[in-house]
Point group: C2
Chain length 120, copies 2
């Protein structure tokens, strides 16, 4: 397992001490869509522990190289499944120092490209 | 430059022969938010060449490992800049075989976490 796979495994397991062990003490978590930022491991652990709903996740893709990585996960709550895209920066000890989450929503396709696309 | 950096450089340059040289002939492009799919290099080149607007892009992050990678780019049209998250699968010759694009939109933060977050 790479560090991003471990990150998602401990979150799915609600293993908060395990999550703490993957993060720098001054980790920064950002949500560019809402322009929310959480500073520090303690607050970020609490954000995860307090997150409402009986959510479960599966990992679709992870890619890790020097300095960071990205993942595509699928979050399910009840009958609904939504994708999450996450970018990570790692420090020199391969601890997660920065996390940026995106939660894209469905939208209607714009007109003008029907001659090229199929729907699935 | 890794293959994803080359991909974005030729797209920004509108270098369609250069883009063709990075793709498998049967490349598949998908937009999960609209459930649109484009099959094949010729159609995908046309989709890019026909894409409306005087858009420009900058690359925020790329991460590439064996078999694929991911990028976070920022697309600007006029005064508006929006993020795009893209996942890639590579074939054995490091050509791009599959592209999945996400275009997340701003949304209002849900209540209940104001004690943990700051806005930026």
């Amino acid at each position: 397992m790479n560090v991003i796979e471990r990150y998602w495994a401990v979150i799915e397991a609600r293993d908060w001490p395990g999550l703490a062990g993957l993060l720098t003490t001054d980790v920064v978590y950002e949500l560019p869509q809402t322009r929310e930022r959480i500073r520090g491991r303690e607050r970020y652990l609490r954000f995860n522990a307090e997150y409402p709903g009986d959510w479960h996740l599966t990992v679709e893709r992870t890619h890790v190289d020097t300095g960071g990585g990205a993942s595509w996960t699928a979050f399910t709550v009840g009958d609904e499944t939504v994708p999450a895209l996450t970018f990570f920066r790692l420090d020199g000890a391969a601890l997660i120092a920065r996390i940026t989450d995106f939660w894209p929503e469905p939208y209607d396709p714009p007109p003008g490209r029907e001659h090229l696309v199929e729907r699935y």
